[in-house]
């Protein structure tokens, strides 16, 4: 095997085992799983209360578990037409309505918390090794690029495992607490959303690793990571709100360079939109990471 690829793979494996040994991975998995369980429980409770109010209003018996009324409504032709009208595209609306409510909620939830947890866990990964000096034991054994890419890949694999685990936690919670729970449909939809959230998270992971390569202090790196992430969110929000020219065009162009600008495309069920968004998000993650590497490749260690 090519030495650069071999070392990248060696660093990736070490990143995984190191995270397990340092209990960092356990903290990460607990955070993701706990988050999914708590949020799903809240979702089920809110849904149940809404259904009960609806059932009371129409004068039918109140169900003991959540999900029954929603499932019935989900299948109602008038309701589906209403959603089609709201979405503006019948095909897209139909695809969305094929998705179980719990999976839709999990998708929204994972898209919301993945960037936050990625920044919290990964923005200090490289800077803490520079800070402690442990990087100096490696930089005469491998190239800086293969080390950085190996760390990035290791973090990406951890993120995938964490998201799949949180999906599993949400699925188990829904299975225990919801009526008319379709295990197969929910599992498939949750798995798809886990993968989509992973792709979305990889762009933020690139940002976190890019920041981590440029800043020596782990705490400062984490803080800067969050600040940049918030700035990116502001760009996406402004791109949505501002309608005055030429600002709208400028913001739309800028929005293409931040992960938030591709989130909706990734959400959409059709392969074309999701595929383009995937390519963009993976490219953005690599670009952020490599932008940090330009600095890292020249810095004193």
């Amino acid at each position: 095997m090519n030495p650069t690829l071999r070392n990248t793979w060696t660093v990736t494996l070490h990143e995984l085992t190191d995270s397990i040994r340092s209990r960092r991975a356990i903290v990460l998995l607990i955070l993701y799983a706990l988050n999914a369980v708590v949020a799903t429980l809240i979702f089920v409770k809110v849904l149940h209360e809404m259904e009960n109010q609806f059932e009371k209003a129409v004068g039918v018996a109140q169900a003991e578990k959540a999900g029954g009324t929603t499932t019935a409504m989900w299948k109602n032709r008038n309701f589906r037409e209403l959603i089609s009208h709201l979405v503006g595209n019948k095909e897209t609306a139909e695809k969305l309505l094929e998705t179980p409510p719990l999976a839709l909620f999990f998708g929204w939830l994972s898209f919301f918390y993945t960037p936050l947890l990625v920044m919290l866990m990964s923005a200090s990964r490289i800077s803490e090794e520079v800070w402690s000096g442990s990087v100096r034991f490696m930089m005469f054994r491998t190239s800086r690029l293969s080390w950085c890419v190996g760390k990035y890949a290791g973090q990406a694999l951890q993120l995938l495992v964490a998201l799949l685990l949180s999906g599993l936690a949400a699925w188990i919670t829904g299975w225990c607490r919801m009526a008319f729970f379709d295990p197969g449909a929910n599992a498939a939809a949750i798995a798809v959303f886990s993968l989509k959230a992973w792709i979305y998270g990889i762009a933020f992971l690139g940002l976190a690793m890019g920041v981590s390569q440029t800043i020596a202090s782990p705490n400062v790196a984490t803080a800067v990571g969050f600040v940049v992430m918030i700035l990116f969110s502001v760009v996406s929000m402004l791109a949505e709100w501002v309608s005055r020219q030429p600002w709208q065009e400028i913001l739309n162009a800028l929005d293409l360079l931040v992960p938030g600008g591709h989130k909706m495309d990734l959400w959409l069920p059709d392969a074309m939109h999701a595929g383009v968004a995937t390519v963009f998000l993976l490219a953005l993650g690599a670009a952020y990471m490599l932008a940090g590497y330009v600095r890292f490749s020249r810095r004193n260690l």
């Binding site: 070392n7 442990s134 100096r136 034991f137 930089m139 005469f140 054994r141 260690l301």
Partner: protein, 325 residues
Amino acid sequence: MSAALELKGVVKTYGSRRALDGLDLAVPRGTIFGLVGSNGAGKTTALAVTVGLLRRDAGSVSLFGEGPFDPLRHAGRVTLLPQDSRLPLHARAEDLLWFYGRLQGLGEGALRESIDEVLEWVHLNDRRRSPVRTLSHGMMRRLTIAQAFLGRPELVLLDEPMSGLDPREAARIRAILKRRHDAQTVVISSHNLHELETLCDGAAFIEAGRLVRQDSMDTLTRRSRRVTFFLEPAGQPLPMEELTKALPDATWEQALDGAELTVKFFDETARAAEVNARVLEVLLRHGIGVLEIRRGSALESEYFSATDSHASSVTPLPPAGSATP
């Protein structure tokens, strides 16, 4: 034969401070070589520049005559024991060495053998499964020494390797270094000049980022040109006529108190052992006691005399109790 390491006019600045100011250095292959200098002289910077941890601003570095450090070409052939760097605390000693060895490109069999060997050297075989955080400071230091010798690299750079080691372990590491593999070149940066004197084949004095002097240890300490006899009782008349007759081409120096007699000679005159035998024979015959014999002068005194001009620029401390202006 090309040098294992050659630095030519290397400059490294930190802001406005010049850590290396045109440093020249050539370390012959297969030698143990000492770097001597005061704090901030540039020793650590020189080692870090050699393996590319620090970027040089000017000058050239060449390893084995092949140009500057390149991880693809030199990974596994050049290793470093960095001075103040911490190993990852949660990693196990053996796993860490395994990871480093794999990065060096060692195969499983060779790596297993090498890990066993270096852990045995540093007396950590019984702690190989221990996380680094559970090791004492000295043990961690030994582990950092072990990683530097993993896979039998051609050039090993050690920055203050003995600091933090207890006397027994330091002696053990010194013995290991002396028994090093012939093809290996070891560069040691240390403030312990006695240690360097006993270990090294050559040394360089570095001050203010420049080379002050570099030579073989024999030449630096004049081992092959000088023997000093410490005498007892001090001050008694010496049989100089007989001594001169025994070594006609040598010159003699007697300390003012008469306690030391130094004989300076050239390689052509005699070898040190021969000088020893001839002088001792005369002295003992005249009932003059010899307490100690030292070959050459101490590296420390040579270092002080070579770097006096640099040291004199340091402001001396005021006497105790004196008022601060």
